[in-house]
C-alpha cells in the first residue's frame, strides 16, 4: 500500500488559471443518476460482503429493485420538466436485464458511462488483468447497447485498486468520477501518460450518502442542494465551477423525498448562468481549453 497514488498535484483553489465555460456560464451542472443492478446471490468477494443479511437478503435486494421498478420512471418524469443534462452511471449489466430503462434514457439523449458490470461485483482483490477485463467489458456493453463510446468511469460500488484509473485511461477513457478532491475538473496523472480528466461528482450531494449514511431529512437535502449551488454559482463568477447531483432511483424517488429534490432543481434551474452539460461535454471542454494550462501551471 502507498501513502498516496499521486493522481493530482497541489493547485490552490483561488490561484488557478481561470476556467471559462461556453457562453460565459458560471457553473456547469450535471445530473448523475446511478442506474444499477444488484444481484441476489453474487459470488463472494474476499474484502466486502455484498449484503448485510444472509441469503436471501430481500431487504437490501428489494430496496434496489424498487429503483428499477418504480423509481427510475418517477425520476425521469421530474427531470423531463427541466433543461438539465443527464449522464448515467450505469451498472452495464442493466443493458441486458432491463434494456427498457436504458432505452428510456436514450430517448432523452442521456449519456451513459461505466459503473462496472454489477454493483455487487467489486474490484477489490482483482489482479490487473481481471480489472482490465471487467472495465473493458463494461465499456463494450455500453457501445453495443447504446451506440455510445463510454467516456467516463465510476468504479462499481466505488471499489478501486491502485490501477483502476490507469486501466480506464489506457482503455480509451476520457474522464473519471472516482475522486472527490475538487469542485473543478483537474488533470489526472496516469502511469501511461494518457490524458484523463477528473470531473467532479460529489459524495456530499449524493442522495445515498445523504439518506443512508448521514440520515438526512428529505427537505434538508433540498436545502443542502440549494446552498451548495449558491456557493459554487457565486465562485463560478470568478472561475467556472462544476456541480454534480448524483442520484439513485431507489433513494431520491421515494414519494416522501422526490418533491424536495424537485424544489431544489426548480431553484437551481432558475439561474441564467448555469451551463447544463453532460459529464462528457464538461470533460471535453476542459481537455480542449484548460487541461494543458492546468498542467503547466502546476
Amino acid at each position: 500500500m502507498k501513502s498516496s497514488l499521486d493522481y493530482y498535484v497541489d493547485a490552490p483553489y483561488f490561484q488557478r488559471p481561470r476556467i471559462q465555460w461556453p457562453g460565459g456560464k458560471r457553473l456547469a451542472l450535471w445530473i448523475a443518476p446511478n442506474l444499477e443492478f444488484y444481484e441476489l446471490a453474487p459470488p463472494a468477494n474476499p474484502q466486502r460482503a455484498a449484503w448485510p443479511r444472509p441469503y436471501p437478503d430481500i431487504d437490501g435486494y428489494g430496496t434496489r429493485d424498487y429503483g428499477n421498478r418504480v423509481g427510475a420512471e418517477r425520476l425521469m418524469r421530474v427531470l423531463d420538466r427541466y433543461p438539465t443534462r443527464v449522464s448515467v452511471s450505469l451498472s452495464t449489466a442493466l443493458c441486458i436485464h432491463h434494456p427498457e430503462i436504458v432505452q428510456m434514457g436514450l430517448e432523452r439523449h442521456w449519456e451513459y458511462f461505466s459503473h462496472g458490470i454489477y454493483n455487487t461485483r467489486y474490484a477489490y482483490g482483482m489482479d490487473e488483468a481481471q480489472e482490465r477485463e471487467m472495465i473493458a467489458e463494461s465499456m463494450a456493453l455500453i457501445a453495443e447497447h447504446t451506440g455510445q463510446h463510454c467516456d467516463g468511469y465510476l468504479a462499481p460500488a466505488l471499489t478501486h485498486t491502485e490501477f483502476s484509473l490507469d486501466l480506464f485511461a489506457e482503455l480509451g477513457g476520457l474522464y473519471t468520477c472516482d475522486l472527490f478532491h475538487d469542485d473543478q475538473p483537474t488533470p489526472i496523472r496516469t502511469r501511461s501518460g494518457a490524458r484523463l480528466v477528473s470531473v467532479p461528482y460529489s459524495l456530499e450531494m449524493n442522495d445515498t450518502i445523504v439518506y443512508v449514511v448521514n440520515k438526512i431529512e428529505p427537505r434538508r437535502y433540498g436545502d443542502m442542494l440549494k446552498t451548495h449551488f449558491d456557493r459554487l454559482y457565486q465562485e463560478g463568477a470568478g472561475s467556472g465551477t462544476v456541480m454534480c447531483i448524483p442520484l439513485h432511483p431507489y433513494q431520491v424517488s421515494h414519494p416522501h423525498r422526490i418533491a424536495a429534490f424537485r424544489d431544489a432543481l426548480d431553484y437551481i434551474c432558475g439561474h441564467d448562468g448555469v451551463w447544463h452539460a453532460t459529464a462528457r461535454e464538461i470533460a471535453r471542454h476542459y481537455l480542449e481549453h484548460h487541461y494543458d494550462v492546468a498542467l503547466v501551471a502546476t
Binding site: I58, V70, H97, E100, H254, P255, H256
Partner: protein, 306 residues
Amino acid sequence: MSLDQNYLQYPLRRRGMDHDRYPFSMLHERPPLRWPGDKPLAISIVVAVEHFPLNQQGRPFKVPGGMTTAYPDLRHFSLRDYGNRVGIWRILRALDAAGVPASFALNAAVIERFPTLARSLAARGDELIAHGLHMDALHHQGLGEDTERHWIESARDALTAIGPAPRGWLSPAKQQSALTPDLLQEAGFSYMLDWINDEWPYRFATRNGSITAVPLSTELEDRFVMLHNLHSENSWVTQVSDAIDWLSSEASTGSPRLLTLLVHAWVIGQAHRIAAFEKLLAAIAALNDTIVISPHTIASSFVANA
C-alpha cells in the same frame, strides 16, 4: 493477488431478473389498479404488535429493536412490552377518534402473553396479520423446511384460535428464507408483506402456485424514520404527508396509487410520539379521493383486477 475466475462470470445475466420469482416490470407499464369506490389513492395502515424475548438467540442476526445489553436486558425487554401494555391502547384510541381503520400484525407470542389485548383486537373486526412467532424467530436458511413450516403453521393457528384464519403474513424483521414464500402459500396465506421492491401489489411465484406480494413503504416506517434516522416526530409527519401529496398528484393525473404504512406499538405508542400519529390520522381522515383499506383488500383488489 487475484480473484477466482468465476468472479468475472455472470451466468444469470439475462433479460429480466436474476431469479424466477417474478418477471420485471416498471410500474407505469402495468394495467391500472382499481381500488374500491374507484378512489385514486389507497392508504393502508398496519400496526405491528411485537414480543422481543429476553433470551434472544440472535440467529441468524440480532433483530433490529432486540435485546442489546448483557442478559437479562430488562431495559429493552420492558420497553418493548410497553407497546403491548400502553402504546397499543393509545394507538387504538387515536384510530377510533379519527375514524381511520388499521390492520394489526401480531406475533403469536403476543396472543399468548397478552390475551386481553388479543381478544380486544379480534373483537374490533379489523384484519389481523400473522407476524411469526416472536421477534427472535427469524426465518432463514438454517431453519430447515420442517421447522419453518411448523413456525408458519403455529403462527397461523395462534391467530385462528381468536378469529378468522389470517390471509396475510409479515415476517419478523421482514426476513425470509428462500422457501418462506412457498411455505406461506402452502399454509393458506394469500399475500405477504415482506418484499419492499414496489409500490403496487404483484404476483410472486411459488413452487405450487403463487402468492401476492404487497409492498410496505419501509423507509417511511416510524421505526426507520424516528429511531434509525433519528428524525423528529414532526419530520415524520411531514415526510408521510409529502408522500401522500406526491402520490395523490400522480394518481390524479395517471393511474391509482398506494401508500402502505407500518407503525409499531412500541414506537409510535410512546407518550411523546402519539400526537404525531394523531396529527397524521387527522390529515388522512380529511383527504378526499382517498380510501383507507386493509392489505387483504389491497391484495384482493389486485387479484380481482389482474
